[in-house]
Amino acid sequence: MRRPRISWSTRSGRALVYQAAFLAILVLAGWALWRNTVHNLAARQIRSGFRFLDQRAGFDIGEGPVPYTPDATYLRAFAAGVANTLRVSLLGILLATPLGTLIGLGRLSRNLLVRALSAAWVEVLRNVPLVIQLFAWYLVLTELLPDPASPLALAPHAFLSKAGLQVPLPLWQAGGLVLERPEVGTFGVTGGLALTPEFLALLLGLVTATSASIAEIVRSGVLAISKGQTEAALALGLSRAKVVRRVVLPQALRVIVPPLTSQFLNLTKNSSLAVAIGYPDVVSIANTAINQNGQALECILIIMSVYLTINLVTAVAMGWYNRHVALVER
């Protein structure tokens, strides 16, 4: 048996040499960067390691479902941040999808006005940076709304003011389900579920901007279904509505789901802009932590892992869904 020769002349030989060289360069560069980092950290007297997560955070977080006080640990602070990220992202996805679908179908409408307005919505929201939209929303909510002492009553027990939106909160108590209603007092509105202007601005910004992208995806999905399908269904005597419902939309859904998932992930990543308007998501918390203890490496790794985990979970779910609904072929 001939032994494989690692030589320059064989293709596999060259590949091995290239990869070995590539690896060597990477290792060398990595080592040099590591050395610099250690040196610089020491010079600035910054500690390393994740032990800081057990320490007292010492800063306040304005809102969120995770119970938190400034005496809690950094770990809890990050957990609160993650909860806030998920909170705004999931609600954002839930609201943006139907809105985007409606506008996407609106772009395909026979009515000229509906078509034009849908197109305008999409063009404006996709061509202005999200950061600008968020700042604008935030300033509108905090400058143009009435003072907390004399809020706008949207419904019998829903109040909108510079301090945000307050709505009744269903609570589970001894007697059963009870509604805690917000009350207007001299200094503002107390009680009920409080949605801060930061949360509202981020939510509104994410929902409107993402709805524009979703509208385009829905539109392309419907247009991707070949004209022949519609014609065959019409030739059988089906009404237009039935054609859309039974033939076009089911097929369009398959085309739409992968890019739609991509948009959901984009929305989640875009929620990181919270740091610009002061909503305490995980990136904001990390920013505060870095400014306090200087452990930039660890905090950035934490943020990255959070987002990569969200990505991974979504990718796995998408894969399962795709296999489940793929069109059966030979």
Binding site: S226, G228, A232, L234, A235, L236, L238, Q251
Partner: protein, 246 residues
């Protein structure tokens, strides 16, 4: 013979500025089998698509079984129940099984109960010899099988007229015969049909009349014997010379 079941009177149609159908007059009797041939761009597909309203004519009248086609969608839908169509690209619905493809229209349009629709569907699938594929999806079938399912799907609505738009042009050569045989069966059972095709052998054996179209006009029409043996118009002769095997 009685009243014609399809009548086209001075039908004109434009695609933008392109005059695709020019003063077309055609009367088709009940049970008549017509083959339409001609070079590409001559308007033959457009002609039959005007019969079931997939194309709207701009001038003239299209009357199907006594009902004139207008832009009122209810009239159009009513006519489409009487006219079946088979497309060059089959256009089966890939997300539904073969059986579901065939029962979709009877259930949704004729409001037939599912059991009855399925029984009828299986009959039609048996008629075109694909009954054993009922539970499969179109993507799992060969081209010839898919086109036969398409025929069964159209037949399940029990139309009075069948339109075939180049039914074998997208098929591999070895599958053309099985589809033509299915159409032949149908013709022998007395179905009124308009067939756009290049298959001249089929025209010779099945058609009552062969029509040659060019540049949007009906140039020549005749019984197949006369048409192929003594074409009168020079354009017809040119076309046949190119299309018929030597």
């Amino acid at each position: 013979m009685g009243e014609p079941i399809i009548e086209l009177r001075r039908v004109n149609k434009w695609f933008g500025r392109f005059h695709v159908l020019r003063d077309v007059d055609l009367a088709v009797s009940r049970g008549e089998r017509i083959v339409i041939c001609g070079p590409s761009g001559s308007g033959k597909s457009t002609l039959i698509r005007c019969v079931n309203g997939l194309e709207e004519h701009e001038e003239g009248a299209v009357v199907v079984d006594g009902v004139e086609l207008t832009d009122d969608h209810r009239t159009v839908e009513r006519i489409r129940r009487e006219v079946g169509m088979v497309f060059q690209q089959f256009n089966l619905f890939p997300h539904l099984t073969v059986l579901e493809n065939v029962t979709l229209a009877p259930i949704e349009v004729l409001r037939m109960p599912r059991a009855e629709a399925e029984a009828r569907a299986r009959d039609q699938l048996a008629r075109v010899r694909v009954a054993d594929q009922a539970a499969k999806f179109p993507g799992q079938l060969s081209g010839g099988q898919q086109q036969r399912v398409a025929i069964a799907r159209a037949l399940c609505m029990q139309p009075r007229i069948m339109l075939f738009d180049e039914p074998t042009s997208a098929l591999d050569p070895e599958m053309v015969k099985e589809v033509l045989d299915a159409i032949l069966d149908l013709a022998q059972q007395g179905m009124t049909m308009l067939v756009v095709t290049h298959e001249m052998g089929f025209a010779r054996s099945v058609a009552d009349r062969v029509i040659f179209m060019d540049h949007g006009r009906i140039v020549e029409q005749n019984a197949p014997g006369e048409f192929f043996a003594h074409p009168e118009n020079e354009r017809t002769r040119d076309f046949l010379a190119k299309v018929l095997p030597r």
